[in-house]
């Protein structure tokens, strides 16, 4: 079914999501991919705070191309989520609300999604120009030195995603 929802979303709202739902997200999400995850994970191991409060927030696995003058962002489609699997259960157990990416996750991640009643959405891989149109604001909030891999706070409007692992922890890809 097609739905419109605001992000961040509450646990109760998440529990109404079902695999295969087409959802248009409006609100705030954060980007982080390989290098930012590695750095966040190392911070946690050292007992340091993360650069933003991940509680209930959604991380979008994405590193954009540079914005042309007057534009919010460049091309902005999802990257393969599986490369973040090493770090994801820890972040979910700390309260991360959900993720947007593409591709399969490990069983450990699926179990962590179920345990925390989280959600994993897929955005359409390779549709970076189309997805960029749904991003209305972008601001680097941490790890600026990582360039495209910096952590960005994004405001999105009707950002199209598909539920691929709902809070039950079952993956649509394994169907």
């Amino acid at each position: 079914m097609t739905r419109h929802m605001t992000v961040p979303m509450s646990r109760e709202e998440k529990e109404t999501l079902k695999n295969g739902d087409f959802v248009y997200l409006t609100g705030t999400i954060y980007t982080a991919r390989d290098a930012a995850h590695k750095r966040m994970y190392e911070s946690l191991q050292k007992g340091e705070d993360l650069p933003f409060d991940i509680k209930d927030q959604i991380i979008y696995y994405m590193g954009p191309s540079p914005a042309r003058e007057g534009r919010v962002i460049g091309s902005a489609g999802p990257t393969t989520a599986g490369r973040m699997d090493k770090y994801t259960p820890t972040l979910l157990d700390l309260g991360l609300g959900g993720m947007i990416g593409k591709g399969k996750r490990t069983d450990e991640v699926l179990k962590a999604i179920e345990r925390n009643k989280s959600v994993y959405f897929a955005a359409i891989g390779g549709a970076g120009a189309l997805l960029a149109k749904a991003i209305v604001k972008s601001e680097v909030i941490a790890y600026d030195d990582l360039g495209t891999e910096a952590i960005r706070k994004l405001e999105v409007k009707d950002f199209p995603v598909i539920v691929v692992t709902d809070p039950s922890g079952v993956s649509l890809y394994n169907k």
Binding site: S65, G77, T79, K133, G147, T148, Y173, K175
Partner: protein, 280 residues
């Protein structure tokens, strides 16, 4: 002997990097359109039509088709009667990549060392393959390669006894393992024969062949068609969410090999299979 200034190579490389990251070649647009028309899954059709819409937005608004604007893989075919002047050719090619990726607002996705991993901030160096050919022209083919699909590519050192069936199974198994990660519908480049590195290079080069065309070798053409049908019967579908369009093309190149071996490489590319050529 014809003289060509290497600055002409720099200019061409820069323009080609920008063009191909915003405008997909006609052959790829056509196979994607065909897929959209024949897809039976409703979700699959919805995804394919969004991909077509994405191509239109990219071209009209100069937003790269995909944010992963790739590592620049460049095939240089240099005529043996050409004298390149005005500097080092390799530097000139990398200068073209630097210029194209910087002035074209393309993503800088290259790190300087595979383990230390500092971004070079200009997408250099390119991966360059040279060949010397007859004539007095320089042909440049650029294929910016995204790594979602590159990571799912494989080399198999099969035994001669594995034969045709073994080769087909290897290709299909690589596609199956790639699944949703490689952004299907994919283009599958295959190299059969040669040595370990030769088959990988052929698989990469096969991706630059026009989608929808076939090998000149009759039995290889048949294999391309048969393997494509089998891949599309897997049901992986657009974005890996089910459907009959898992691959748009299977392109195979072959080369003589050793009596003891049957190397097979499968280089997987997503639906944004960018390739562009220009002759100087």
């Amino acid at each position: 002997m014809r003289e060509i200034e290497v600055s002409a190579v720099t200019e061409a490389v820069s323009e080609m990097c920008i063009e191909i990251n915003h405008v997909l070649s006609k052959d790829m647009k056509q196979v994607l359109k065909n897929a959209c028309e024949n897809e039976e899954s409703e979700l699959g059709r919805q995804i394919l039509s969004q991909l077509e819409e994405n191509l239109k937005i990219a071209e009209a608004e100069m937003i790269p088709i995909c944010q992963d604007t790739g590592m620049a893989v460049i095939f240089m075919e240099i005529g043996q009667d050409v004298h390149l002047t005005g500097g080092n050719l390799e530097d000139a090619i990398n200068e073209g990549v630097r210029k194209g990726y910087t002035e074209g607002y393309l993503r800088k996705s290259v790190v300087d060392d595979p383990l230390i991993r500092n971004n070079t901030k200009d997408n250099t160096p390119a991966v360059i393959h040279y060949s010397i050919v007859p004539g007095e022209n320089v042909k440049i083919t650029i294929s910016p390669k995204g790594f979602g699909s590159e990571n799912m590519s494989k080399v198999y050192m099969l035994k001669p006894a594995d034969g045709e069936e073994g080769v087909k199974n290897a290709i299909i198994s690589a596609v199956k393992d790639a699944g949703p990660n490689a952004c299907p519908p994919m283009v599958v480049g295959v190299g059969i024969g040669g040595t370990f590195e030769k088959c990988a290079l052929m698989a990469k080069h096969a991706l630059t062949r026009e989608a929808g065309t076939h090998s000149d070798i009759p039995y290889i053409k048949e294999m391309e068609e048969e393997v494509l049908d089998k891949i599309n019967a897997l049901g992986i579908g657009p974005a890996g969410l089910g459907g009959k369009n898992t691959a748009l093309a299977v392109n195979i190149e072959t080369y003589p090999t050793h009596i003891a071996g049957l190397p097979v490489a499968v280089n997987i590319c997503c639906h944004v299979n960018r390739h562009i050529s220009r002759v100087i």
